[in-house]
Structure formats: C-alpha cells, structure tokens
C-alpha cells in the first residue's frame, strides 16, 4: 500500500519527520516496508537563471552563463539542449551533483569548452508530465520565472517528498487507502482528521428509463449507481495528476482519473460506464450464465461460469464485478453520459473469480480484502463531489441504492474496563482508554466499569467484546507499557515428552550412532518417482493420496513410501561427489481412505547406505542394532518380490513373526536407469531400508526388568559342520538353538569351500556358547549337548561334523 507523505498531509497536520512518522506507524501496527525518499538520489541540483547564450559554431552546443544564486551568479555551463533561451529558469546540476540512476556530474570541458555542470531535463530528474508540467518536453525543464536562482530543485518540483510503502494486515481493509492511513495517523498523533469534501448538488434531471437491479444480493450486498450527464472529457488538474503519479498511476482523463483517485484516496473501487453503450438502459447484477463471455478493458476475453458475478446491461455483461470493466461500455473521449458504480462485492467470490480467471486489478485486490458499506457510500459521494469540483459533468437526480439490508450503524456493545485490563495484564487508566477509543472514532460512554461502545462504521473487523478493544487500546497506549511477567498466576504443570516421543528420540540417536545422517524430505513427490522404483501398477502403493491443487506435477502425490525420497537424496549426493554416506528419516507416508474418511498417516523409518564400504551385511548390522536398542529380536526372510530391491540381496524384517519392513540392495534395473556415471563403483552400491515404525515399536517392551546373572562360567565350544551349498546359515543356527536349551549364543566364524569338502558342499564353523543356570557344566555335560545338536542337525539338515 503506497501512501505519499504530501497526500497524507492534506488530511492531518503532521509536524514530525517522515522517519518519525514511520516509527509511529510501526508502533500502532502498520509496518512501513519501505520509506521511499523521492529526491534521495538528487543533490546539488539548483534553479539556474540563464543570463546569456552563445552558439558554438559548427556544433549544436551553446555556451550559457547562468545565475545560481548562492552557488555563483555567473557560472558557465555548456548545453546541447535546443530549447535554452536567455531568461529561462531551469535546473542545473553543478559540479559534484548527483542525479537519479547514480549519475554523477563534474565540471569538465565539452568539446574543449569549460562547463561547470549540466542543465537538466525533467526526465533526468526522474519526473514525468504528471508529477511536474513540462517534464516530458524534449530539452531543458522550463521552470516558472518566479523561482529563485540557487533554490534546491527538489523543493521546486515536489521531489522533497516521501512514499510510505505500508503493509496492512488482513483485519484492516479500511486502511487500504490514503484516508484510511490518515485516520490512523491522526489517532496516533492525537490530531484532528480533515475529511475530504463529499458534498455535491444534483440537478432535477433524471435519466428516463434507467434501471438498476441486483439479482444476486449474496454476492453483492450493496450497489450504488449515479448518473452523470453532459460530460466534458478532458485533462485532470495538476494536484490530482500529481497524487495519482506518486502512487504509480498515469493520468488518463478527468473522468477516469476520478475513479482511480477515489480508489486510492477513499479505498472504494469505482467504475464508470458509458451510459450510451448500455443496452435497454439497464444494469443487472447477476451470476454469469454458464459459458457466457466478456471482454475486459485490457481486451482479454473470458468464458464465465455461474460462480462468476457480472454486471450486465439489458442483454450482455458489461463488467466483471469487482475485477474489471467490459470493453463494450468503456469511457472514451466521446462519452457524454456516464453511470458511476460504487459497490460492495463478497470478498471470497471476487477472490475466487480473480484466481479462476487469472485476472486481477487494484479493484479486485481491495474487494478481496473487504470493503465496508460506509466506504462505498463515501466513495460515491467523493466521486460526485470531484465531478462538481472539476466542472466536468452534470450530476443528475438518477441515483440508485440497492441494499441487501445490512445495518447502517457501527457495531454497538458494552464492555468492561476491568476485562480489557485483565486481557492486557496491566492497568490502563480509564481516562486513557476513553481517550484512545475516541481518537479512533469509537463512540464511548462510561458508566463505572461499563463502557457503552459504538465502533466506527468502517471498522467491520471489530467484534463484540473486550479483546478487540484491548488491542486498540494497547497499540495506541504502547506495547512498551506491557510488563513481562513469567506466568505469574499459572498453575504448575508437569511437562516434557511422552514415552513414545522419547522412544522416537532414541531411535534417532541409535541411527546417528550407526553413522546415519538425518534428512528431511518433502512429504510429496511425483507419481513418476514410483515408476523409477518400478512399483507395479497394481501395487497397493499405487493407491495414491493426491493433492488437488499441487504446485506442480513433481509435488503432486502424498508419498506412499520413503524409498523414492531417500533414493533421490542418495542420487543428489552422488552427483555432488559425496561418494559414500548413510542417511535416514523418520517421517509419515500416506494412504487414502474411503470417501469422507480421514486418510492415513503412517510413520516410517527409512534409511539408505551407499558407497564402497557398504554391503548387504553392513546394512543388516544397522537393522539389527536398531532392534537391539529396543530389545527386539529381528529375523530375516528372503524378499524376492520388492520391485526396487535386488531379488537375491533383499530381506523382509520379521519381528515376532510379523513383517515390519524390508531392506536390501537397489535392484540392478533401477540402478541402471539412474542418471549417474555408470563406471563409478559407488553408484552401484546403494542399499535401502524401510520400516513401519509404529509396527516395529508395537513389539518393544515397555520397560526393563533385571534378570539375575549366573555365577557359573559359560562354556564355549567350536563346531565345524559340512553341509550342502543350499543350506542357509540361519537354519543351522536356529536348529542349534532349538536342540539345546542351554545355548545362549551361536556365532558363525568361518565358511570354507574346497576340495577336501567336496563339490556342492561348504563347511561352516560356529562358536557356540552354553550358559549354566544353577550348577556348572562338566565337560561330559557339554559333550552330551554337542551330541544332541549334531544328531538333530544331521537328521534335519544333513549336516556332518567336519
């Protein structure tokens, strides 16, 4: 929201500097994002009176001697400008001067002729025709003859001004205007607000047959129309052009400028229809018909739906309500009769239409934030006053007011002073509260603790009750009055993380201790990320939870698996030359539910290990370590059907017989399609794991219970077995444990294949630990155990002692 300092001063006697005002605005809730000093880049540019001109033969140059008052009454400046003349008053940038765009001026000869600066055009000072008359003339800026030589040019051209670029919060749409900000400035400075004139006289004439009707009062709660005749389209006055220009708008014509001026000044978007273009002399505000078309002022055509509100004449749309007028009823130089529109449109409908059509304007921006009916009335009155002030039309008696019946008074309620202070936690004296609320145009009557309050009509954000008043009071009284108290009256409560939250912290710590680096990846990716992992079309993971309005296709599905995210990060790291690493994330995956049911969020623990040092068993070690941290015993089961894992180097993780996850080497066909160097070894050693975190934790014991340690020493025996090549280590170990209840640990320490063993066979050597409980084992005991184990192994798995 851009507000010129000079324009604000039309309504409030501001007796502080722009910087001080910036601070004041900040303290009462209006952050000035940028304070623009219009003349910041201009220095040492002063009024010069041209005393003499002498043409330089054979060039377009003229040697001028100028009077710059205190800067020197006889300064020689050479100029190439054709319009210079003796007696001209024009800006001169003297030696050491600066101009917009970082231009520096120094005394230096031009074609060998000494010149002590440069005389300037309007454009060189950053001016345009609207900001200063004659600024766009080719050549030097011709200043009035009453300007005093040596005067700073910024004072003469109004460049000694500031623009406040103010950020207005969503609850204060009433401050989307110069007047709105002026109201706040008046309040915070304790000054009077000088309202812009809104009086006007109408003639007796009416426009025969003119009719205005609102068919969609839900989308248009208020619609004011007023006909103006005998229009003389022409130029706007200087003050109007300047104020528009300061806010970045170019002057078009008096009538169009009035609508823009009211928009900026009052905050009411205005529209003017060329009345002669209105068929059947009708204005009907209604929802568009499905497929109805309109061409807006910027010559773009839109096809509409019943969700869009249009202003129509007897036959066709003539404006896209709140957004832009139609080309068919535009004000032109030939316009002689017009109809002003000042309306309040439903803010969410304007926003939805604007988004849906991709069409927005200064008007739609204001309607989206909200316009009060007070502003609508004020805007219309101000526009008509300006018609009168500019003598550019006859205000007829044809005025229309279509209202959905909203009250015309400000909100009225009672409030308690004690409760206001109770919210703030400080005692703001009653007279201060009253003073502040009155300054903000609240009508307040005090009766003891009770306040009878009527909010100003433009403050639609004020809700009944004390909290809003508390905010109004404290932002004017000053937040520096708040005395920090540390939960003075609060009850003592116990805090901290729940056991489940602490367990998750532990899981993170265990992964870190295993060398894994925690990553954070986006919860959504592209469906094609599942293609990369060869997830089959009929896999359950393909039942996707989709975002209806994604930023892009790349971020359009809620992830059903962490694996694609992990793989993406692995690939990114490999591309950056990080040739080995371990990564993990504990985060949700998602799945849709039935209609109307809440989609599921399932926490997964995923990790990836890549690089030369990794193999299936290093990753298996990580899986087991994770289990041990929660005293869980994991078993593995060959996983041949996981699309993205190598069928021979992948395993399901089982906990108490339940599948809780999977891990393994990335499938060759997936690796082959990654956009990585094919010859790098590291690129071919990528391992992924993904665990259903809650399912895993459901097996974790709640607490620890100490079990007595046996006083008798454990006995360790080595056992080398010859088995067929297909026999898995796991089945041997399982059988050893099953054969003897005293076995507490079995560890494989060697695998041997060779001629002595025979083809198709291998030898596996185990270290077996027997732990006694209540009496020590004799060697004979252990021999007996071994015999039993060997018997079972031979019978069940065909194993022979080697």
């Amino acid at each position: 929201m851009k507000v010129p300092y000079s324009w604000l001063k039309e309504y409030v006697d501001i007796d502080i500097t722009a910087e001080e005002l910036q601070e004041k605005l900040f303290s009462c809730g209006f952050e000035v994002e940028e304070l623009i000093d219009l003349g910041a880049e201009i220095s040492k540019v002063v009024v010069a009176e041209v005393k003499s001109c002498e043409k330089v033969e054979g060039t377009h140059l003229q040697i001028c001697r100028v009077n710059c008052g205190e800067y020197g009454e006889d300064i020689q400046i050479v100029t190439g400008a054709p319009n210079v003349y003796v007696g001209m008053h024009t800006p001169a940038a003297l030696d050491g001067a600066t101009l917009p765009g970082g231009v520096k001026i120094a005394a230096k000869p031009l074609k060998g002729i000494p010149s002590n600066g440069m005389m300037c055009s309007g454009e060189e000072l950053g001016l345009n025709e609207d900001l200063y008359p004659g600024a766009e003339v080719y050549g030097l800026l011709d200043l009035p003859k009453d300007t005093v030589p040596g005067t700073d040019i910024r004072e003469i051209t109004g460049l000694n001004d500031y623009i406040f670029d103010i950020s207005v919060t969503a609850n204060r749409p009433d401050c989307q205007s110069v007047l709105g900000i002026a109201r706040e400035v008046a309040a915070v400075l304790g000054k009077e607000l000088k309202m812009p004139a809104t009086d006007y006289k109408t003639t007796d004439t009416t426009v025969p047959g003119l009719e205005i009707r609102v068919d969609a009062p839900d989308l248009c709660p208020r619609y004011l129309g007023h006909a103006v005749r005998n229009i003389t389209v022409g130029e706007s006055p200087r003050w109007m052009r300047r104020n528009l220009a300061l806010c970045g708008l170019r002057s078009i014509s008096n009538v169009v400028d009035i609508t823009n001026y009211v928009l900026l000044e009052i905050g009411q978007p205005m529209h003017a229809f060329d009345m002669e273009q209105l068929q059947e002399m009708k204005i009907i505000v209604r929802r568009a018909h499905e497929g109805e078309k309109i061409q807006t002022l910027d010559e773009k055509e839109f096809t509409l739906t019943t969700e869009n509100l249009v202003i129509c004449d007897g036959n066709r749309p003539v404006a896209l309500a709140g957004i832009m007028g139609g080309l068919n009823s535009e004000i032109t130089e030939k316009t002689t009769q017009l109809l002003f529109e000042a309306a309040k449109f439903a803010r969410d409908n304007v926003r939805r239409t604007s988004r849906a059509l991709g069409q927005s304007s200064d008007s739609s921006a204001r309607f989206e934030k909200g316009i009060s009916e007070y502003i609508t009335e004020l805007g219309m009155a101000r526009a008509l006053h300006l018609i009168e002030e500019l003598h550019c039309g006859e205000i007829t008696a044809s005025a229309f007011d279509c209202s959905a019946g909203a009250p015309r008074e400000g909100k009225h309620f009672t409030a308690s002073l004690k409760r206001i202070n109770g919210i703030l936690g400080i005692e703001v004296p009653a007279e201060e509260v009253l003073k502040i609320l009155k300054r903000l145009n609240f009508d307040v009557k005090q009766d003891g603790d009770t306040l009878e309050v009527t909010a100003p009509r433009y403050r639609e954000d004020i809700e009944v009750g004390e909290p809003d008043l508390a905010e109004e009071v404290i932002r004017e009284y000053g937040y520096d009055h708040v005395i920090p108290t540390f939960l003075q009256r609060a009850t003592v409560t116990s805090g901290g993380k729940t056991p489940a939250q602490q367990r998750k912290d532990r899981a993170i710590q265990v992964m870190c201790a295993q060398g894994y680096n925690e990553i954070y990846t986006l919860s959504f990716y592209a469906e094609s990320d599942l293609d990369t992992l060869k997830i089959p079309a009929d896999a359950p993971e393909r039942n996707l939870l989709r975002i209806q309005n994604p930023i892009s296709e790349k971020l359009s599905v809620m992830r059903p698996l962490l694996a694609p995210s992990l793989l993406n990060i692995v690939v990114e790291n490999l591309k950056k030359g990080n040739n080995e690493g371990r990564l993990f994330e504990i985060s949700n995956v998602y799945a849709p539910a039935g209609p109307g049911e809440r989609p599921s969020e399932i926490p997964h623990l995923g990790f990836a290990a890549f690089g030369d040092a990794e193999d299936f068993f290093t990753v298996k070690g990580s899986v087991e370590a994770l289990g041990e941290a929660f005293r869980l015993k994991f078993e593995v089961e060959r996983a041949e059907d996981v699309s993205y894992l190598h069928p021979g180097i992948a395993a399901y993780i089982l906990c108490e017989g339940e599948r809780i996850g999977v891990f393994g080497k990335l499938a060759n066909e997936v690796t082959g399609e990654l956009k990585l160097h094919k010859d790098s070894k590291a690129n071919h050693k990528i391992f992924l794991a993904e665990i259903d975190y809650d399912r895993m934790m459901s097996h974790a014991a709640a607490g620890i219970r100490y079990k007595p340690v046996s006083v008798f020493p454990a006995v360790v025996r080595d056992l080398a077995l010859t088995v067929s090549e297909e026999t898995e280590c796991g089945s041997l170990m399982k059988e050893i444990i099953r054969a003897c209840p005293h076995v507490t640990d079995v560890e494989l320490f060697d695998i041997y294949r060779g001629e002595q063993i025979g083809e198709g066979k291998k030898s596996m050597a185990f270290k077996i630990t027997f732990s006694p409980e209540d009496k020590a084992f004799t060697p004979e005991d252990v021999d007996r155990f071994i015999k039993k184990i060997l018997g079972n192994l031979k019978f069940k798995l065909g194993a022979e002692i080697r």
């Binding site: 900040f26 809730g29 969503a170 439903a346 926003r351 989206e368 934030k369 109770g422 919210i423 703030l424 936690g425 400080i426 809700e463 909290p467 508390a470 905010e471 404290i474 932002r475 937040y479 708040v482 005395i483 920090p484 540390f486 939960l487 003075q488 009256r489 609060a490 009850t491 003592v492 409560t493 116990s494 805090g495 901290g496 993380k497 729940t498 939250q501 912290d505 992964m511 870190c512 295993q514 680096n517 925690e518 990553i519 954070y520 986006l522 919860s523 959504f524 975002i547 309005n549 994604p550 930023i551 971020l555 809620m558 790291n573 990080n578 371990r582 990564l583 993990f584 809440r598 969020e601």
Partner: protein, 338 residues
C-alpha cells in the same frame, strides 16, 4: 691366591665390557658365578690356604663374589630395560594415522532446534502434543476463528486433498485437539510439519512450526512476553529481550509480532537485523475467546496465550544459514556439520 683374584677381577672387567646380549650375559654368569665358575673354583682353592689366613681370604673371595653379583644384576637390569625399549620402539605407531571408528551420524539441524525449543518449554511445564498432518477444515480453520471468506483459506495457500481434508497450513489446529481432550490448566507445545503452496527462494511448500498454548485462570499478555523473554534468553543469549508490536492472527486478540533484540550486535545494528537492532522471530497473542468457546472452555473463567514459532526461521538464525533450500537439499557436506 690374591694374585689369582686380581687376575680374575681383570678378566671379569674385560668380559663385562664385552657383554652385548642376553647370551653373553648368561655365559658370564656361568663362567664366574656358576657352580663350576671361577668363583666356585676359588672357594674350592680355599682349602689350601692356611687356617689362620682362611677367614680373611674367605672374606676377600666373598666380597669379590658380591661385587660380581652386583655387576651382573646391574647389567641384567640394564639389558632388560634396553630390550623393553627396543620392543617398545618396534611396536610404536604413528599416532596421527586415521582412527578406526564407526563415523557418527548427525541429527538434522531442524531436529536439534526443535528439541532445544522443547527442552526450554518442557522446563516451564509444557507437554508435547503431535497432531495429524492431514486436517479437516474445522480444525485447521473454522474452529480457529478463521472465517469462511478469509484470505488464508485461499486455494493459493492451502493444499487440498478432497472436499473435506487438507494438509494443515499451521500447527494451530493442535490447540483445538488439545483443548477438546483436556481441561485447563493447559500448557502444551505442538511441533510439526505444515504445508503451504508457496515455493520460492524464501519459502518451502513444507516447513515446520511449533505452536505453544497456555490456558489457565488469569493469563495475560504480560505473561506472554515474560514467558517469551525467558525462551529467547535460553535459546539465543541471556542478554536478549523481546519487543511486542501489533499484528493480526484470527485466533488471537490482541495479536502480536514478537521481535528479539539482535544477539549478533546487541541491538547496535548489523546485517543480521538489517540495522534495526531487532529480529522478527515469532507471532502470538491472547487466545481469542471464540477459540476457547469453540472447545467448550468458558472464556469468562479462563484465558489463554498462544504463540507460533517457525522452526526453519530459528534454525537459520541460530546457525547462520541464509538459504532455506539447504535444509531440504540434504547434502552430506551440510548435514555432517551438525
């Protein structure tokens, strides 16, 4: 006899000088102190000495023996020391060779900061509640006093899953869930992932917030500032303080933006605080009575304060990270610094 001893001493001294190994030393012992050694022989020769001279001569031989033994012992200890030194020398390692270890992994900076914030507030008695990431309209908006036509409900900001469910745009919905299930006094933090359809140099479509809520009797705006003062002092520096300024959130009234005095320059003005001396860190306010009433809490009896912290923002401030993208790129060279 004495002549013999002198000759033997000379021989011994000569031999001692020649000893360079354990074997030499053993041979020396054998030759002089062994059963058949020179000293034993001398002793045997004592029989031939006259009776009156025998004790004196015996003493001379014995003294010599003690002397040889002492020499042997000293030499033997010296040899052992030398041997040990040689062994140690041989076994010595280059201590600057790389360590053998399982390299430690790292927690993500967002986790570190999240935990740090939780620790500060846990000490003040705050519990931690984690709500769902997929929310319904009521929890994310309506019951938080976000009117139906409020700009923040715009399709531009919210990711919708269907007509009913959306990805939460704020952790504030956690307030509602806590107040639905718990009666005051309430002190709770709600950390979590939030989503907004915004993606550029300073925004990520997914980021993290931490909501804080206190509901009790007699809670005021002063308590909010007092509590947040303690928070920023523990998180940044004991010397910092907060400043409140007016703001707007639909679920608090009054609403405030909370700035912290710059911990880099102590408020003097630097590039971190953009030369203002203050850094915007979070938003908060007094809980809107409608929000309390929406959860069946009597707003005449109880009041509350709430605040929302952007975890990314705090993380970036704390570690001097200037680009939010780095937090989600997960470059190992970045991650390993934490």
């Amino acid at each position: 006899m004495e002549e013999k001893i002198r000759a033997l001493r000379e021989r011994m001294e000569e031999r001692i000088g020649q000893i360079s190994s354990k074997e030499n030393l053993a041979a020396f012992w054998q030759d002089f102190l062994g059963k058949k050694g020179s000293i034993a022989e001398l002793m045997k020769g004592l029989g031939a000495v006259s009776k009156e001279d025998r004790p004196a001569m015996g003493k001379v031989i014995n003294d010599f023996k003690v002397q040889v033994e002492a020499q042997y012992k000293a030499l033997s200890e010296k040899m052992e020391q030398m041997e040990l030194a040689a062994r140690n020398r041989q076994e010595a390692v280059d201590i600057t060779l790389p360590a053998k270890k399982r390299e430690l992994g790292s927690m993500h900076p967002l986790t570190l900061v999240k935990n740090e914030i939780i620790n500060v507030f846990a000490g003040m008695g705050f519990a931690v509640f984690e709500g769902p990431e997929i929310e319904d309209d009521a929890h994310n908006f309506t019951r938080l006093n976000v009117p139906k036509d409020h700009p923040s409900r715009d399709m531009q900001d919210t990711f919708y899953l269907d007509s009913e469910y959306l990805l939460r745009t704020q952790t504030s919905g956690g307030q509602i869930r806590v107040m639905d299930s718990q009666k005051p006094p309430i002190k709770v933090l709600v950390p979590g992932r939030v989503f907004r359809s915004d993606s550029d140099a300073t925004h990520s479509p997914m980021f993290h917030q931490m909501e804080g809520l206190v509901v009790d009797k007699g809670i005021t705006l002063c308590d909010l500032q007092g509590m947040l003062d303690k928070f920023v002092q523990q998180l940044f520096d004991a010397s910092v303080r907060t400043r409140l300024r007016p703001s707007y959130f639909p679920f608090t009234e009054p609403s405030v933006e909370v700035d912290v005095s710059c911990f880099e320059c102590a408020g003097k003005g630097c590039s971190l605080c953009k030369h203002t001396g203050w850094i915007e860190v979070l938003g908060g306010g007094v809980v809107h009575p409608k929000v309390l009433e929406n959860c069946g809490i009597d707003s005449r009896e109880y009041s509350g304060i709430a605040f929302g912290i952007g975890i990314e923002r705090i993380t970036m401030l704390k570690y001097g990270i200037n680009n939010i993208g780095l937090l989600f790129e997960n470059d190992l060279r970045f991650l390993k610094q934490f």
